[in-house]
């Protein structure tokens, strides 16, 4: 895939970084001139993925979360990866209302929300340990400022 612009964010798995992460990704996507609705979809999906890392990937420790975003002319590709404890059953976690921690007032709707707010959602194992959540969304908004490759100066 040829991306016209990419960025990577790496930060500690602290819940206070959730707002930062979703806002940073949203700000990066603004160059594709998305609608407010599309931006909120993306922010919500990123928030769900990062929350999963904070709560489930690193339950008792603070680890690293890495978010990569790649833009093509009209599509946002996002990967959220962790080096945490991993997911035992990739099918099961995607079921609505499934949670490994029912005693904690958790809805178990994280992946369902990601799935419905984005166009594609894929889960896979990170190389050694942890999980990569890969998702994409095609935007209806038109390209605003950028043309050409990722070396364009804004």
């Amino acid at each position: 895939m040829n991306y016209m612009n990419q960025m990577t964010l790496k930060f500690d798995s602290l819940s206070i970084n959730e707002g930062f992460a979703r806002s940073a990704v949203a700000a990066f996507c603004v160059q594709l001139n998305p609608t407010l609705d599309e931006i909120t979809d993306i922010k919500t999906a990123v928030s769900e993925a990062v929350t999963n890392c904070v709560v489930h990937a690193y339950p008792k420790t603070v680890g690293q979360i890495e978010i990569w975003v790649g833009l093509t002319m009209n599509t946002v590709h996002i990967e959220v990866r962790d080096d945490g404890i991993g997911i035992a059953d990739f099918e099961k976690v995607r079921e609505p209302f499934f949670t490994t921690r029912p005693q904690e007032e958790r809805a178990g709707m994280g992946f369902t929300v990601m799935e419905s707010f984005m166009d594609t959602l894929e889960l896979r194992k990170n190389d050694n340990k942890g999980v990569i959540v890969s998702m994409s969304k095609k935007l209806q908004g038109k390209l605003k400022a950028v043309a050409g490759g990722s070396n364009v100066k804004l």
Binding site: E18, T40, S47, T51, E105, M109
Partner: protein, 102 residues
């Protein structure tokens, strides 16, 4: 994240404003529980018009409050959700237990 309350007749009006996510969920829980325990009322209306952002963590928070109030026989209603909050509520069938009102 801010929680405010106002008691009028037999209704407790709660407003949740700001951003409700994993980071603010605990604060929201404690705050909502405190406001709900301090007054005498027969129903609760939660107004979300000032809620700027919410992910599915918000569902957990709301369902938790619903369970507590159910023990006291007090119904909770949701008003003014954003388009996105509304989408998440429909997805999770939240309105089955906490109906939306205008």
């Amino acid at each position: 994240m801010q929680v405010n309350s106002r008691l009028y007749l037999d209704t407790l009006y709660l407003t949740i404003g700001g951003e409700l996510d994993e980071h603010s969920a605990n604060y929201a829980r404690l705050n909502l529980d405190e406001q709900m325990s301090n007054a005498d009322f027969k129903q609760i209306i939660i107004d979300l018009s000032n809620l700027d952002f919410m992910d599915s963590t918000g569902i957990g928070v709301l369902i938790g409050r619903y369970k507590k109030m159910k023990q006291r026989g007090i119904p909770i209603f949701i008003s003014n959700p954003s388009v996105h909050a509304d989408k998440i509520f429909r997805m999770t069938a939240l309105y089955d237990i906490m109906p939306k009102i205008n």
